[in-house]
Amino acid sequence: MKPTDDVHMQREAKQLEEPVTEASVLAKKLGLKPYDVNYWIVDYDDMNELIAYGGFQNRYPHWRWGMTYDRQQKQGQFLGGKAFEIVNNDKPAHAFLQESNALSDQKAVITHVEAHSDFFANNEWFAMFSRDPNAAAMLSRHGETIDDFIQDTDIERAEVERFIDHILCLEDNIDQYQPYEPLMRDEPSETDVDYGEVSDELDELDLSEEVQRQVFDEEWLEGQRENDDSTTFPEEPEKDILAFLRRHGKQYDETAEKAIELEDWQKEILEILRAESYYFAPQKMTKIMNEGWASYWESLMMADENFAGADEFLTYADHMSKVLGSGGMNPYSLGLELWEYIENTENRRHVVERLLRVEGISWRNFHDTIDFTHVLNQLEPDPLVASVEREQLDDIEVSDPRIDEETLAKAREGTVDLDSYPWKLFTYEGLAERHYSLVKPANKGYLGRISREELERISRYMFDTERYDSVEDALAGVEYTVGWDRMREIRESHNDVTFVDEFLTQEFVDENNYFTYEYMHSSGDYRATSTDYEAVKKKLMLELTNFGKPTIVVADGNFQNRNELLLEHQYNGVALDIEQAKDTLERIFELWGRPVVLRTIDTVYDDHDLEVARRRDSEPEPEETGVEIRFDGTAFEEEELDWEDVNHLAATDVDYDTKPEDWLA
C-alpha cells in the first residue's frame, strides 16, 4: 500500500470523507446493520494486486495470484474496465477505492460496499466460519507461515508449491454446510489404525523366500486379508475431503516405495488452505444474493436518494448498465432482479390481503371489481415524505413516526443540509413509504398482474374477510415496510440455492426473459430448450448447488482392506468431466500416498445412436454406466461396474435435463 502522505490520495480521501459518513448513516436508516467499514484509497496497481489476491493485501506465495494479476492486466476489463468494488468480509470490513475513479464511481462503490458489509454481518452462512473472522490477519499469518516453509532450507521451494497445487485442486471439496472446525496439528489420528499390508510386513521381516512360500503362502495371506476385521471408515461418507486427507493422508516415498507420514509442514499447509476454503465458501454460496443485495441498495441510495449528484448520475447509470449487462448468467443482474421481484411480490401480497378483506371483494371478482389505477393512486407516498419542502417544515408533526425528530429540530434551526440529504428528515418508515415499490413507474403493472391462482392461494388461508368497508379503508393502513422487512429476513437465512428455489417463479422468468439451453448432439450446437420456470430453476440449481461442482465424497479410506482411498461421485444425471477427474486423481494420490479410486456414473452415447440422431434430428438417449477409475501412482485402470455397485450413487429424484420430451429419439 502506498504511504498516506501522497498528496493526491489525501485529497481524494478528504473528498470522500463526507460520502463515506453519509452512506453509512443512510444505510442504517434503511434498516441495514453493516459492520463498520474502513475505506482505503489505493492506486491502480495496488487495486490490481488486491483483485489478484482476492481482496486482501497479503496472501501466501503462489503462482496463481500472479496468473490472475497477469490476466487482470491483460484484460483490463474487470467489470467494464475498472475495478469497482473490493470489500472484505471482516469486522470491521475493509473496502478499497481506486484513486483515479470518478467521484460518482467512488460513491457507487461506497453505497455498494455498505450493503455488502450488511450482508456479511447478517447472513447466517457467514457465521459458519466466524462472526469475527479477523480475515486480513489470518490470511496474512497464513502467508507468513507458508513463506517460512519456502524459506526453510530443509524444504524445497518447488515441493511446497507443488503441495499447494495439489490441495487447491480440492479447494471446493469441503463440507460447506457445516461450520468450520479447525484440525490441530497434533490431534491424535485416533481412527488411524495400522492398516499395513500383512505381506508388506512380511517383506520387512526379511524372511527367506523359502520360508515365506511355505509358511506364509498366498492362501494364508488371502485368509489374513479376509479375517482382518475389515475396518471401514469413515462411517458416513465424508464430504470434506480436505479434512479426511488432513487426518489420514500420507505421501508416497519413492525410495522406500511405500506411503509415509506427511511432514508437519504439509499437514499445516493442508489445514491452512482448508481454513481459507471455509472462509471463502459463504461468499461463493451467496454470490447472487449478495451481489443482488448490494446492487439493490446501491441503486436506491445512488439513484433514488440522489446520492449521485445530478452531474454524476449519467456516469453512474453507465457504470450500472455495464455491470449488470455483462452477458451470461450474471449474478449481479439475476440477484437484483430477484430482490426487486421479492420486494414487489411481498408488497403486492400485503396489499392484496387487505383488498381481499374489503366487503364484496373476493379472489373471483378481484380483477373485475378493482380499479387498479385508483388503488395505485391511493398507495402513492404522502407528499410529506415524497418531497421535502423547506417552507412546510413548521407544519410537520413531530410525532409522525415517519419523521426523524432530531433532524426535524435541526432542520428548523437550519443546521442540517436537507437540500443535499433530504432523507435525513425521515425514519425507516418514512423512507419505506418514500420508496414504495409498487407505485414506481416500472412496477405499475404488478398489482393487476397477480394471477387468479395466487389470489385463490392467498385467500384460502384468510379469515375476517369483511373487515373493511371500502378500498380506501383497506389501503389506509397499508404498511409500507413489509417489502424491506421481508427482504432483510431473507438475507439472513438464505443462500443462493434456497433463494432461487424459493423465489424464482414463472412470472419472474417471463418478465426477465430467462431461458435454458442444452447441447444438441443432433446439430452439434447449443439450443434454447425451455422458458419454463421449473427448467430455469433446474439449471440454476445445477449451477449453484455445491459451488456448481459435482459432489464427491470419501466412501472408504480402507477400500478393499488395502488402504486405498475410495471416492464416490454422487451422480445427479450430469456426468463428470472424466479427463479432468483423472488429472485430479493424480493430485489426490500425492496427498493420500496410496492408490486412489473413483466411482462414478458416466453417460455414454452410442455411436450408432448419435448417427441416427443426426439423421432424424432428434436427441439420443445416453446410457448410464458405472465406472471405476483407479490410479496407483503410475497408471490408470478403468473398469466398467455392475449397476448394483453404483446404484446407490444415482439420484432418482433429480433431473437437470431440460430438453422437451418430444425431442428425444
Binding site: 490472475t68 487447491l168 449474478p331 417471463d510 430467462y514 440454476l540
Partner: protein, 441 residues
C-alpha cells in the same frame, strides 16, 4: 513474498508447462503462431478439479429483446461469472501460450535437436559505427579535428607566405614595374603574391628607390633570400589562416558489418494428388524451417511458390491451403524460383534456401531433364526436397529418389521423407544438418 514474486513464478511455471518443442512441431497447433512469433501452447494452465462435463450441463441465458423459442440456436455459452471474485475469465477455456520469437525458437530447436548451425554465407556490407577515426567536413563542434585544422592552416600560411623583402627588392629593379614583377614572381619564382600587393608595395617605394638595381642579377646578388620555414621559425606564427575548408570533424570509423541476409523459397506441389494429410505434413515441416532460418539470420525474406503443371507465386497465408487440379511439373516451380531469385536476391548478397515439397509425383522425365539441371543452376546454400507420402511410396513417385541419387553426397542438397508427423523433426534435422557440414565458401 509479494505479487511480483507470484507473477515471476507464474511465468516460470508457464515456461515449464510449455509444450515440448518437438511435440509442438509434430503434433501441435501451428495455426496460432505468426511468421514472426511462435506461440507454443502451455499444457495445463489451471489446476484440475472435479467438474461436470460442460456439454452435459447446459445452462441458462437471458434474452435481451424477448426470449428465444425452444429450438433456437443460442451460440456458444459464455462462461458464467458465478465464481468467486477476482477470477475474470478463469473458465474462459482459451489457451494460454508461451510466446517466443524466431531467435529463441532457433536456439531452442538447436538445443532440442542437438543442432548447431552457424549461418554463414554472403556478407553484405552494412555501415556500422566504429572508433572515431574517420573524418568528415561537417559535424558537431566537439568532434572538430583541431590538430588537423592547425596543420592545414600552417601549410596554407607557408604556401601563402613569400619573402616580401625579396619581391620589394624586385620592384626596385630599373625598368621593371609592378606588371613585370608580378609576371616574374608568379611564373619564375612561383611566389603566391597578388597583383594588388605588388602594386601597393610599388606605391610605397619612393621614386628614387625604384631604380636601385640595374638588373635582376644585380638585385639577387645583393639581397639575401630567406627560406619561409626559417623565417617563420625566426618570427613565430603570428597568425594562422584558418579556413572553413580546412575544418575536419572526426567521425566514427565505418565498419563493414556483415549482415546475414537470407531468402527462403518454399515450393509446394498443390496438384490434386496432394490431399489434406500431405498438405499438413508439408506445413509441419516448412513452418519450423521458416522460423528457424528467420531466427538464424538478421534479415529473412520468403518466397512462396505453388505449382501443379504450372507455377505461380503466392502469399504465405494461402500457401498451405491451396488446392488445385491438374498434373504436376516440378520444374515449373524451379523456373519461377530462379527467375525470382536472380531478379531480387542476387547470390552475391543473399543466402538462399530452396525448399520444395510434394508427394514425389512428377511428369515423366521432368526431374531428370529439367529439375536437376535447374537445381544445379540455382546457386543456394541448400536445396531440399521433402517428400510427404503418408502411405509410403507410390509407384510413380520417384522424384525424391532421383534427386537423391543424382546429388548423393552433395553438401547442399538434402532429401527428406515424411510419412507421418513423427518424422517431421527428423526431417528438419536432416535438412538442417546437411548444411552444417558445409564449409565457409
Amino acid at each position: 513474498m509479494g505479487l511480483k514474486d507470484d507473477l515471476e513464478r507464474y511465468r516460470e511455471v508457464g515456461e515449464q508447462r510449455r509444450q515440448d518443442l518437438a511435440d509442438f512441431i509434430q503434433y501441435g497447433d501451428l495455426g496460432q503462431s505468426r511468421r514472426d512469433e511462435v506461440r507454443v501452447p502451455i499444457k495445463i494452465i489451471d489446476l484440475p478439479e472435479f467438474e461436470y462435463d460442460q456439454r452435459e450441463m447446459g445452462g441458462i441465458g437471458q434474452g435481451q429483446d424477448g426470449t428465444p423459442e425452444p429450438g433456437d440456436p443460442v451460440g456458444q455459452p459464455e462462461p458464467g461469472d458465478g465464481d468467486e471474485e477476482g477470477d475474470p475469465g478463469e473458465e474462459g477455456g482459451d489457451h494460454e501460450y508461451y510466446e517466443m520469437d524466431p531467435e529463441e525458437f532457433a536456439e531452442e530447436l538447436d538445443e532440442r535437436l542437438g543442432l548447431d548451425l552457424e549461418p554463414k554465407g554472403k556478407k553484405v556490407v552494412e555501415e556500422k559505427e566504429g572508433d572515431f577515426t574517420d573524418i568528415t567536413r561537417s559535424g558537431p563542434t566537439g568532434t572538430l579535428d583541431f590538430e588537423r585544422l592547425f596543420k592545414e592552416g600552417l601549410k596554407r600560411k607557408l604556401a601563402m607566405d613569400f619573402d616580401k623583402d625579396f619581391v620589394r627588392a624586385a620592384l626596385k629593379i630599373e625598368g621593371w614595374g609592378p606588371t613585370k614583377v608580378f609576371e616574374w614572381a608568379r611564373s619564375e619564382e612561383n611566389l603566391p603574391v597578388s597583383r594588388s600587393w605588388i602594386e601597393n608595395a610599388y606605391d610605397d617605394i619612393p621614386n628614387g628607390d625604384r631604380t636601385q638595381y640595374g638588373s635582376l642579377a644585380e638585385m639577387t646578388a645583393s639581397v639575401e633570400r630567406e627560406e619561409t620555414a626559417r623565417r617563420i621559425r625566426r618570427e613565430g606564427v603570428d597568425q594562422i589562416p584558418y579556413r572553413r575548408e580546412d575544418e575536419r570533424y572526426r567521425y566514427p570509423e565505418i565498419i563493414e558489418e556483415r549482415e546475414r541476409n537470407v531468402v527462403v523459397v518454399n515450393i509446394r506441389d498443390v496438384s490434386g494428388s496432394m490431399r489434406q494429410k500431405k498438405r499438413e505434413l508439408v506445413e509441419r515441416t516448412f513452418t519450423p524451417l521458416d522460423w528457424y532460418l528467420q531466427g538464424k539470420y538478421d534479415n529473412a525474406e520468403f518466397v512462396y511458390i505453388a505449382h501443379d503443371a504450372d507455377a505461380w507465386e503466392v502469399e504465405r497465408d494461402e500457401f498451405f491451403g491451396i488446392r488445385s487440379g491438374g498434373g504436376t511439373r516440378i520444374s515449373s516451380a524451379y523456373e519461377v524460383a530462379m527467375e525470382r531469385l536472380d531478379e531480387k536476391y542476387p547470390w552475391t548478397d543473399w543466402n538462399r534456401y530452396v525448399f520444395a515439397a510434394g508427394d514425389s509425383e512428377n511428369s515423366s522425365n521432368d526431374t531428370e531433364k529439367n529439375v536437376i539441371p535447374l537445381m544445379e543452376r540455382i546457386d543456394a546454400n541448400l536445396h531440399a526436397y521433402v517428400e510427404t507420402q503418408p502411405s509410403g511410396n507410390a509407384i510413380n513417385a520417384t522424384h525424391a529418389e532421383e534427386v537423391q541419387q543424382h546429388f548423393d553426397g552433395s553438401d547442399n542438397v538434402s532429401v527428406a521423407y515424411v510419412t507421418s508427423p513423427d518424422d517431421v523433426t527428423d526431417a528438419i534435422y536432416d535438412i538442417l544438418s546437411t548444411e552444417e557440414g558445409d564449409n565457409e565458401r
